[in-house]
């Protein structure tokens, strides 16, 4: 591998890692603050991608689709939290896990009933469809760079939200002790609803953002789900920073794993996970 190829692979891994972070961030938020292992996270990702497809075909504009899609997914998140999850907080984690497991099946079938089982593409917006020439044969699509930019922006936004806003303060408090925060007169129910809505929206947004690159197809949610869990496990429960670091690490491991030991590329990420767990059983970072 010559040096320029190495740099390009580095760019690839960075770009992949950032996208992973975006997809996993919602999971880690819901996980860390509400203590819910949301198996349906992949389904929300899929939902977002299909929204991007359906709404773009309806409106003809990805931006409009994304805005409407964000509103819709926030609404869906609110409704799910209100109708189902809010009734389970006093129960075991296990019940919540199973609930989300049931939701996967329901979402997948609803997708099949509403949109069908075909593979669809979502066009890249005209403005971002250009490419940048990297080497004499290889160029890099601007849209991918744009995606990375959005991911970095969102990471910064989340950091700001959690660190410096009143909502973020309450969220941080809520993640340490539900009862105590409630006793302090903070409306914990509302906070949970917002966090869940935010988590769902982040997943759906990731799906929308990735749709033009990845296309939309049945079962796409399941594919991202497990790797997102690895991000959270490596990063540490509920740690947004941890998720970012873990996602970038995974991006590096996966990309260079594919280049260096292609036969074991699928495994490389899990070896990384085991190594991290051996070193720190609770992930690299703990808490937000």
């Amino acid at each position: 591998m010559d040096f320029s190829t190495f740099l390009i692979q580095l760019l690839n891994s960075l770009q992949y890692g950032l996208l992973l972070f975006l997809v996993a961030s919602g999971l880690t938020l819901i996980f860390g603050i509400m203590g819910i292992i949301n198996l349906a996270h992949g389904s929300f990702y899929m939902m977002g991608a299909y929204m991007a497809f359906s709404l773009t075909s309806l409106s003809g504009n990805l931006l409009v689709a994304v805005i409407v899609g964000i509103a819709l997914s926030a609404l869906i998140g609110f409704l799910l939290e209100w109708g189902l999850f809010s009734r389970l907080y006093k129960r075991d984690h296990l019940d919540q896990v199973l609930l989300t497991y049931g939701l996967i099946l329901i979402f997948e079938e609803l997708r099949s009933l509403i949109v069908g089982d075909d593979v669809h593409g979502v066009p890249i917006p005209e403005l971002l469809s250009a490419s940048i020439q990297l080497s004499e044969t290889l160029s890099y699509p601007v849209y991918r760079l744009f995606m990375s930019g959005v991911c970095i922006l969102l990471a910064a936004l989340m950091y700001w939200l959690i660190r410096y806003t009143r909502l973020g303060m309450m969220i941080r408090a809520g993640s340490s002790n539900r009862e105590m925060v409630q006793a302090l007169g903070i409306n914990i129910d509302l906070i949970y609803r917002i966090v869940f809505g935010l988590g769902v929206t982040l997943a759906a947004f990731a799906g929308m953002l990735a749709a033009p690159v990845s296309s939309v197809y049945p079962g796409m949610g399941n594919q991202v789900l497990i790797i997102c869990f690895v991000v959270v496990v490596i990063g540490g429960v509920g740690s947004v920073w941890g998720a970012l670091v873990a996602a970038l690490l995974i991006g590096l491991t996966d990309t260079f794993g594919k280049v260096i030991a292609p036969d074991y590329a699928g495994l490389a990420v899990y070896v990384l996970m085991a190594a991290v767990l051996l070193w720190r059983p609770e992930g690299i970072f703990r808490r937000i």
Binding site: R87, L105, A274
Partner: protein, 325 residues
């Protein structure tokens, strides 16, 4: 038993009799279905030892089932029947050994994190079989001839024979059931129950809790290995999918569906799960929608699982009574 035992009517002999007599009436297909339910019951009971009796919610239990199933294929000669003396202990030990190694990692975590980490480790093992040529990669591998039990030249048991297989499965179900009953009333079983009830106190009482949990984990892994062995013999085919998190989710579902913390519940859960799949599959192409709806409903309104249903109904009839959360 930690709790004072309530006098209950015992349906077990009846169920056992029904299972023993079933092949007389059933067709081949239904015999296989019942055999599968029995295998799944062993699998679900093994998980219940962790979830229901030790308080360890493992979301990666399919890994032990799966590696044991693979070990059957790998330990059997390609075109001759494997030796049951070798293959069966091999499968159980494989399940237990993998559980031991995984346990060393995952048992250092607790609660929700434990759920995640077991899931992640099972997925790692899934990829070992999926991405390496060890077990035929993502295409899986076949068990061309099923193992048999020989003494000298005489074949005592031949798992290729459907009837023999059915009764072998039944026998193993009984063995597993009795084994768990015995284990649960032993000092180890009581210690596990203590861990579930109050792990912190167990530590301060001086129990090396990690070792106990590891013992439970390894035992459960071995039993899952037994189920995996039987499953591989039943279908003669292993694929990475049997280690996937869906499989782990399904067996967890069986435990919850039936009501965790009771061995009978695991059996009821396995039965209900397989029958539901069967019925819904026959009803509609979109059967998973129904399955999902059932899962959500059970979680929302029936936290004690199906085996709590009679108690709940009774409570409802008598009027109020104690409400369980």
């Amino acid at each position: 038993m930690p709790l004072p035992a309530k006098k209950k009517r015992n349906y077990l002999p009846l169920v056992l009799l029904a299972l023993a007599l079933f092949p007389i009436f059933g067709s081949t297909y239904y015999n296989e279905l019942i055999a599968k339910i029995m295998i799944m019951t062993i699998f679900a009971m093994s998980l219940d030892l962790l979830v229901g009796f030790t308080g360890l919610v493992s979301f990666g239990h399919a890994a032990f089932f799966g590696v044991a199933a693979y070990s059957v294929v790998l330990l059997s000669p390609k075109y001759d029947p494997g030796n049951l003396w070798l293959v069966l202990p091999g499968a159980i030990l494989t399940g237990a050994a993998v559980a031991f190694v995984v346990g060393l990692f995952v048992l250092r975590t607790k609660g929700i994190y434990f759920i995640m980490v077991t899931l992640a480790f099972a997925q790692m093992i899934y990829f070992v079989f999926h991405d390496t040529p060890l077990g035929g990669g993502s295409d899986g591998a076949f068990l061309n001839v099923k193992p048999e039990l020989r003494i000298g030249e005489k074949v005592l048991l031949d798992l290729n024979e459907p009837m023999q297989f059915y009764y072998i499965v039944l026998a193993f179900l009984v063995v597993a059931y009795v084994f768990l009953r015995v284990l649960l009333r032993s000092p180890l079983g009581h210690a596990l129950a203590g861990i579930k009830s109050n792990e912190h106190r167990m530590v301060s009482l001086g129990f090396p809790v990690f070792l106990y949990k590891l013992a439970g984990f390894v035992t459960a892994g071995g039993l899952a290995g037994l189920a995996g062995f039987l499953s591989a013999c039943q279908f003669g085919f292993v694929t990475p999918e049997i280690l996937s998190w869906h499989q782990s989710g399904n067996v967890l579902l069986m435990v919850i569906l039936g009501g965790m913390g009771t061995l009978n519940g695991a059996a009821i859960g396995a039965f209900a799960f397989v029958v539901l799949q069967e019925v819904f599959g026959a009803l509609t192409k979109h059967w998973q929608l129904l399955m999902g709806a059932v899962i959500v409903t059970v979680v929302m309104v029936l936290p004690g699982g199906l085996s709590s249903l009679p108690r709940r109904l009774k409570g409802l009839l008598i009027g109020g009574g104690a409400r369980h959360g």
